[in-house]
């Protein structure tokens, strides 16, 4: 009886286990193995070279002083801004505004647009000759910068695009969080003469902390892997100055066709994000035991 039950259960999970094994686990092993060998198209011997590629990546000034700082700057800026904006939108929707349903739908639109399309849209929006942003600035009589040709302007456009895409996601989850909070503490606070801002800082945020924590961890880890936006907007340029981690790996592996070096960078990235993610999670977990 139990054997039949067990085999049924195995039968249920087997397909997904197979897919995971074939397309996730096996490639991870192949990739990790590749990172220890000389493995490129022009050198098919796959000679074992130990940590040579790791040494290269970790001493690559571009990786250390441009790619990693860019990646973390993007995480901090994008997650921070979309959290703040998403919170504002969620609070607005929670309080109730005119044309609530319409606004809610419009606000969610960016979520339904693929990052590739959004990025392409933004590239044209910020195009220095044909873009609507510069047209508007010209109409105001202001300067018209070449947005994607300057490092910090370009980086700003990347952050802007990422925030545009992800704000609705924060808004949606935070709104769900807000709706699930008990209303009595808020009523008690109203009787306790707390103003709006004090209610927000002393009641809402502490009670929402678990939701905020989970959102930030998920998004931060996800942001570490950002590829589409940067690739389409700047391609890591001008002069590799906006390159982030995923672009670096992609360039090494598929532009320079040095699979081993790309794999090594990817493994390093995985380790970084594992440590950072666990640390972030532990940090947030300390605040987690808060509400109720």
């Amino acid at each position: 009886m139990i054997g039949e039950r067990l085999s049924f259960q195995i039968g249920l999970i087997l397909p997904s286990v197979l897919v995971l094994l074939l397309f996730q686990v096996v490639p991870i092993f192949i990739g990790t193995d590749a990172s220890f060998r000389r493995w490129s198209l022009y050198d098919p011997d796959k000679t074992w070279v130990g940590l040579e590629h790791y040494r290269y990546v970790l001493s690559d000034t571009n990786f250390l002083f441009t790619v990693l700082p860019n990646t973390f700057l993007l995480i901090v800026a994008s997650v921070g801004l979309s959290l703040a904006l998403g919170m504002a939108v969620a609070l607005l929707l929670h309080r109730g505004i005119a044309a609530q349903r319409l606004v809610q739908t419009v606000v969610l639109l960016p979520l339904m647009i693929g990052p590739v399309i959004a990025s392409t849209m933004m590239r044209w929006t910020f195009n220095d000759q044909f873009g609507v942003v510069n047209a508007f600035l010209g109409w105001l009589g202001l300067g018209q910068p070449a947005w994607l040709a300057d490092r910090w302007y370009a980086f700003g456009v990347i952050v802007f695009t990422d925030v545009w895409i992800w704000t609705p996601w924060f808004a949606l989850l935070l709104l769900a969080g807000l709706k699930s909070l008990p209303k009595e503490p808020f009523e008690a606070a109203a009787l306790d003469a707390a103003g709006r801002w004090r209610i927000f800082t002393h009641i809402t945020v502490p009670m929402l902390r678990p939701v905020i924590g989970v959102c930030v961890v998920i998004r931060a880890i996800d942001c570490f892997r950002t590829f589409d936006q940067v690739w389409l907007l700047t391609g890591g340029g001008p002069a590799r100055s906006t390159e982030v981690f995923s672009i670096y790996v992609f360039m090494e592996a598929f532009q320079n066709l040095n699979f081993a070096r790309g794999s090594a960078a990817a493994v390093i990235g995985t380790l970084i994000i594992m440590v950072a993610g666990l640390a972030l999670y532990a940090l947030i977990n300390r605040f987690m035991d808060v509400s109720r």
Partner: protein, 363 residues
């Protein structure tokens, strides 16, 4: 410190009247209890006093100020919620201090106030704890403390004891009573529990179907209920109601009821004057009925249906011509087998009469 006056207060949700034309004056330093079944409008009334619900019609005044358009923060009231509504992420001390800090009270004064409240409530050792580390009773005390430190004009209680177990509830009831004697403040207390209403209230307001049925001291409510609803709601076990017919008989009246007839002298039947020949509802409290084994004058005849042994007393259900009559305070050791014939008598002064159509008391 303040009187609360409700004048023609209504609360409507669309076409539904949650509170219908409530007129009520809560006297200074009075402990007033709003009691009624769920959905009767008592909590909504309380929340309108607090400012947590808009008033659809009428006015509410606290002290000599109409508060209809004042936000809760400006009404100088404090409230205890059913689930305590403590700030879970703050320590007990910060919970108590929050309302004062919002009012820009200096930390020195806050400390003094909290010290005072903590001594009254015995919370001294819990100040550094978070609410979730406290028992239900302790959390309730913190919620009370939040009111005490505020020195508010009016205390509002929204079923504060209903989340506690029976034993703790009885204990907290006494504490509340003691507290009110110590911190003399106008208090409005909402409950569905008639025992709480009777024991705590200086006066009790019985509500039903969005309206006030009766206002009075606990004794008035119990001894002279103004409607059949009040009579049935207050008292445990509930009052028995029998269909009766009034017959004039020389110097007094006869009440014909299932299982027999009572003779009621003129003095003890003020309510029946002019009711000759009318059908009425007769109300008998279970605790006022005496049970006799042998035939007695002015008694209803019936048979024992069931007995419930409570140790200190017995509850006996008697069937008299199809009508069920509950009798309480029957000696525990008395043996009453189902089917035993019994005779029920009541002091005439303790009978209540209600109009069959309006269910208003005839008195």
């Amino acid at each position: 410190m303040a009187e609360v006056v409700l004048r023609d207060v209504c609360k409507r949700y669309g076409s539904y009247n949650a509170v219908d034309n409530v007129n009520l004056t809560i006297r200074d330093k009075e402990f007033l209890v709003l009691v009624g079944p769920s959905g009767c409008g008592k909590s909504t009334t309380l929340r309108m006093i607090a400012g947590l619900e808009d008033i659809s019609d009428g006015t509410i005044a606290i002290g000599d100020q109409t508060v209809n358009d004042l936000p809760p923060r400006d009404r100088d009231i404090a409230m205890v919620f059913q689930n305590y509504a403590l700030y879970q992420h703050m320590t007990v001390y910060d919970n108590l201090a929050f309302g004062l800090r919002n009012r820009k009270v200096s930390e020195d004064i806050i400390k003094t106030e909290i010290d005072r409240a903590v001594d009254i409530l015995g919370l001294r050792d819990l100040l550094k704890r978070k609410p979730r580390e406290l028992s239900g009773g302790q959390q309730q005390r913190v919620a009370l403390g939040r009111c005490i430190v505020r020195n508010a004009k009016v205390f509002l209680f929204d079923e504060p004891l209903s989340n506690l177990d029976a034993k703790l509830r009885a204990h907290m009831r006494l504490e509340l009573k003691r507290l009110h004697r110590r911190v003399e403040t106008t208090a409005v207390y909402v409950t569905h529990d008639q025992v709480e209403a009777m024991t705590l209230g200086d006066r009790v307001v019985v509500m039903n179907n969005s309206r006030i049925e009766q206002v009075g001291t606990p004794w008035e409510i119990y001894s002279r209920p103004s409607t059949r609803f009040v009579a049935s709601f207050i008292g445990s076990p509930a009052m028995n109601f029998l269909d009766g017919k009034v017959k004039r008989n020389g110097s007094g009246y006869h009440i014909h009821a299932p299982g027999g007839a009572f003779h009621v002298s003129n003095e003890s039947a003020r309510g029946l004057v002019g009711q000759d020949g009318r059908d009425v509802i007769v109300g008998l409290r279970p605790e006022h009925i005496r049970l006799h084994d042998s035939k007695t004058d002015n008694a209803l005849h019936g048979r024992v249906e069931l007995t419930e042994q409570l140790g200190a007393e017995q509850l006996v259900e008697v069937i008299a011509e199809g009508a069920r009559i509950m009798v309480s305070r029957v000696e525990a050791e008395r043996e009453l087998k189902p089917g035993t014939p019994v005779y029920l008598t009541v002091e005439p002064g303790q009978l209540r009469y209600f109009d069959q159509a309006t269910e208003q008391a005839l008195a």
